[in-house]
Subunit: 140 residues, 2 copies
DNA sequence: CTACGGATGCAAAAGCTTCTCATTATTATC
DNA sequence: GATAATAATGAGAAGCTTTTGCATCCGTAG
């Protein structure tokens, strides 16, 4: 029994071909952050006949099941990333779209403190740093 | 000469009725964070005949001119906020949509450090904390 | 192997935002 | 003030991403 189908089963989802293929796609992509359109196009290129609507539906289910995280980077459309356990935030290049990840316990701690001070029960947070990446800086 | 028209002039924008009305709307609203739709509807209620396309155009111009800040809260559509100089981040209630603001120099400093460590030249950043606000917590 | 219920695909619809273009208003100039 | 040049506006169409309706198909329990 493959790892993918176990993941699906654990998430309470039927093991179907589209779900398997999308999960594989997310795992094998060298870019960890993909839009629904990216996933759709990659599947087409691999010769898989999966509808765009299904891609959206499946990604949303994966998100609900905790298998992927959905990010709202600037520019409108959602980006999906395989959830490999550890939380992290993102730093993005505004020139080339490159995405790097980081994790800072100091910031995490301050966020919890701020929420508490404001009387909020924190459920989630998102932190994006935008800038120009090393490569784009040296090119300029 | 009104304050609003000075703001517009300084921003290099012609002083037109729609721009004046939209600026007034942003200044007088008790909610500091408004969507384009919010602005449009409020204007209609005030008896102003301003098209939605104009609202979007003007808000974008205001953003470019630095008069307002555009935020991408979860849920897709943009929110606009009058830029009153000081930078701050946001904490939002996922139940009622309430928005509070905060500013934390520790976090700001860490962000600059993280960008530097990653070799990025930082241009911008956005931090949203999501949670349940005091009011909604007591109601539950 | 069968049958039930959920999953899929397609096309249509929805929601937000931008664009097109004819019309109108604003500003610099006389 | 009036005028001409130029930019701004309004209305609707178009564009994009995402969701939905529905007939058909597939996976799974029995």
């Amino acid at each position: 029994m493959s790892t993918e189908s176990n993941h699906l089963r654990k998430a309470g989802l039927k093991v179907t071909l589209p779900r398997m293929k999308i999960l594989e796609m997310l795992e094998s992509s060298e870019t960890r952050h993909l839009s629904a359109e990216d996933v759709y196009k990659s599947l087409l290129e691999s010769g898989e006949e999966i509808g765009l609507a299904t891609v959206y539906r499946v990604l949303t289910q994966f998100e609900t099941a905790g298998l992927v995280a959905r990010h709202h980077f600037e520019g409108g459309h959602s980006m999906f990333e395989l959830n490999e356990g550890d939380h992290h935030d993102h730093i993005l290049c505004v020139k080339c779209g490159r995405v790097d990840e980081f994790m800072d316990e100091t910031i995490e701690k301050r966020q919890r403190q701020i929420a508490q001070d404001a009387g909020y029960e924190i459920t989630d947070h998102s932190l994006y740093i935008y800038g120009i990446c090393p490569d784009c800086r040296s090119k300029a």
